[in-house]
Symmetry: C2
Subunit: 490 residues, 2 copies
């Protein structure tokens, strides 16, 4: 299908357009005729499949099991938790009818009104915990650890592929525990999994921390988050894990009998990561040529391009390519052979835009010499390698690329993280440099709100590893014990 | 969580209740508070995950790639294909509003009306082919082979766990081709995959054939199906593959430039298999004790139950159990150790109800003798096996069970398939014996409809391997060249 676009707008010229150009050139996603909904194309969905595979295994290793809960939620369920409904009411898609009929003008129109409107899940706490209240009877049923891979809908006014779409895909984990301590430790455990996943697989460095009261999940006691920096210096919340306390348990009567026969409310957590993270993956690593994918998340790690003017030349190279592909498969490296009758430049261009980490070029001269050219996508570096060393070299290169992408992103984040110590400095840095601003904050929601109004910067998190340091709130001058991270965010 | 129910109603007493009891006892699914929607519990979802894993690989081996298309479809899209809309209009859930607000009585109500109502996809031909029309430009873009794993909604009046639910999970494949022949061959290829999957993995024998005109997919040129027989003799359509011809291509203008530069409509197919198949899996193999799972689809193939009166005895047995589990893992067999301090009978009962194919019992006497007891779930047969032969024996048993379940189902189907040659015989057999009735039919939709009205039996398919045989339509007496399959169906 037609993935190609002519040119990719350079980041420096128009970052938003660059982002969309990279997605189009790599064939990751497309707009759909439904307002705010996207189509995830094969190359994009392959990334999501890898994300699912890796995360799913990590979850299961902690005892989590997968389930599936209904797409629809009765409107009355949402209403039960007051904060929760406030957080989501504005974004709900509402099913009011079933059946269609043809009206007098020959137009299809909704026919039968539902007794109670249903909302399309924006998240599933209410429907899942209503069910938990029937599943959980005694302490023997705890902990209950479940997850679902599902689509959710939040009616967004301004949408952007992957980053903010009316419908998106995600996983949502939901757990119930006998004690507060256990639920808190589950909250932290899942955040650690998200961090490990982001850093080790996606090569995205993240800062784990706690959300401020204003930014926490509607219905949680507290929310933990991992925050990443994009190449334009803006922040992206890459995954969240919520300590729900007993808020939902009390509304949905999720109770258990403890060992001494007493009735107790459970303690709960929920945690989620969505297709949004693909937006982060694109924005952290890609360049003006196109997509750059970390080897551990790329479904094709190597492309072997066959070069030759005549069919005979190409066939000889293709035979060798198959040998190399088989060798790579043996060491667990996925590859694809491009033996199309196209100019080499055209092929290179295409695979570079699609972000394949390593390219091997095999042509008639290489066959003569018993060597081939290896090209890294991240740096563009080329190297001629003896045929019998190719598999080993590719394996080393993939590791080197994975590590380089992570280090590069860490360095970028350091360069764009600024300690600011006065309101003037804050305004100056946020408007001229952007990035993460480490600043003192009094803990007051009013200051947070005013800072947001004036600069559009929000508190991304109170990092868990922040050090104690006496200082004064950047906005009101009240005392503060440590710095928090402010940034403009996606 | 509380999976257990006290007793399982015998099949002979009440087949419908037996089905629900097996589901409850095995912890597969639960009703939800949303009309007609189910909750798929961990044990049920694990089956779906295995189905996905196996089928997904089979699809990909034919060049199919995964994608994701929007949940919502503009009402005007559905209207474009006249037959299609007729087929689905009565079952659509309709989103008419976004946003909720609190009304004067403090009740949450829908707030903002959409310009155009959206339906929740009952299937995705329209939204996908509208997109295809933008993706496909030339013959080089063909064939286009995509699939999606998704939830769909069909507003059903009478629902039953797995078999018929308002929301269900499925995969839907959609392809576009340059020629009619290629599309037809794709239609057949995917049906073959469904058949192989049903027979080799689920141990469900199926009859592949063509649907009658009345029973075909709304919008297809023709529909192919695999039909299975349940233990009550009723049929279940286990998967369908549709040749769509150019019907949708013409409405959505899915065109390509052929090699000579001429504009052509593509030829299309679609094919789907849903969580319904889990209902078939339950109904084909299970017995009055509970669930029976074919080893190839069971996520846990072996349960190792540790027996002992004292903690010391149980610990010794548990140590041995871990050894055995490790040996099994080495030969690719999944197992679970049950070392709870419970009476052996309670443990056996539980795993039998959950359908684990093989049980290994290890107790103090077994340890002394260096042997263990192996029990087959399908036949209940027990065998004492020397410890060093256990892994080998389990591997043989799993194969034997897989094959036995399939053979047993084939035999059951043979016993319950009847050639009938007169209308009296038809009525008699369908009401007294049920099963599959092989009968002559004139090919006329009116006869088909009247037979359905009078007996509730429908034409399940025109089997591909039906032999030519002169005869007379069971209903009207007109000439017929071969027999078709009639049955009552789920």
């Amino acid at each position: 299908m037609a993935d190609q676009k002519d040119g990719i707008t350079p980041r420096a010229k128009n970052y938003s357009q660059w982002y969309l150009d990279v997605i189009a050139a790599a064939g990751l996603a497309d707009n759909s005729p439904v307002r705010g909904c996207m189509v995830i194309k094969p190359n994009g969905y392959a990334i999501w499949e890898n994300i699912q595979k890796i995360l799913d295994l990590m979850f299961k290793e902690t005892g989590v099991e997968n389930t599936y809960f209904p797409l629809f939620i009765p409107i009355s369920f949402l209403q039960k938790e007051a904060t929760h409904v406030e957080g989501f009411a504005k974004e709900c898609a509402v099913v009011t009818h079933h059946r269609l009929k043809v009206d007098e003008k020959g137009k299809l129109v909704p026919a039968a009104l539902l007794e109670e409107p249903l909302i399309v899940r924006p998240t599933s706490e209410t429907i899942i915990y209503e069910t938990f209240s029937r599943w959980i009877k005694s302490y023997r049923d705890l902990p209950l650890l479940i997850n679902q891979w599902a689509n959710v809908v939040r009616w967004e006014m301004r949408t952007r592929l992957f980053l903010r779409t009316t419908e998106f895909l995600w996983q949502e984990g939901h757990t119930a525990h006998a004690s507060k301590e256990e639920a808190e430790s589950e909250t932290m455990q899942m955040l650690k999994i998200y961090r490990r996943f982001a850093e080790e697989y996606l090569a995205i460095p993240v800062i784990p921390g706690k959300k401020s009261e204003s930014e926490k999940f509607a219905g949680a006691d507290f929310t933990t988050t991992i925050e990443a920096m994009m190449q334009d210096g803006r922040a992206l919340q890459a995954g969240t894990s919520h300590m729900l306390g007993q808020n939902f348990a009390k509304v949905f009567e999720v109770k258990y009998l403890d060992k001494s026969g007493g009735e107790q409310f459970v303690w709960q957590t929920s945690w989620g990561l969505s297709t949004r993270i693909i937006g982060a993956l694109i924005m952290v690593h890609s360049d003006d040529i196109g997509l750059v994918l970390p080897p551990k998340i790329a479904s094709t790690q190597v492309v072997i391009t066959v070069i030759g003017k005549s069919e005979i030349e190409r066939e000889a190279a293709a035979t060798k390519a198959k040998e190399i592909a088989a060798n790579l498969r043996q060491i667990g490296v996925s590859s694809k052979i491009d033996d199309r009758d196209e100019r080499p430049g055209v092929k290179f261009f295409e695979w570079e835009r699609k972000g394949i980490p390593v390219r091997i070029e095999i042509g008639p001269k290489d066959l003569e010499k018993g060597s081939m050219m290896l090209v890294r996508r991240d740096t563009g570096e080329k190297e001629i390698v003896a045929e019998n060393e190719v598999a080993q070299k590719v394996s080393e290169l993939l590791e080197a690329i994975q590590s380089n992408l992570f280090q590069r992103a860490v360095a970028f984040r350091s360069e764009n993280t600024h300690e600011v110590n006065s309101w003037e400095e804050f305004q100056d840095v946020i408007s001229k440099k952007g990035g993460f601003l480490m600043a003192h904050w009094c803990g007051n929601a009013e200051c947070e709100e005013k800072i947001k109004e004036e600069t559009r910067a929000t508190i991304r998190c109170l990092p868990f590893d922040r050090k104690e340091e006496k200082g004064k709130c950047i906005f009101c001058g009240e005392e503060s014990n440590s710095r928090v991270i402010f940034a403009k965010a996606y």
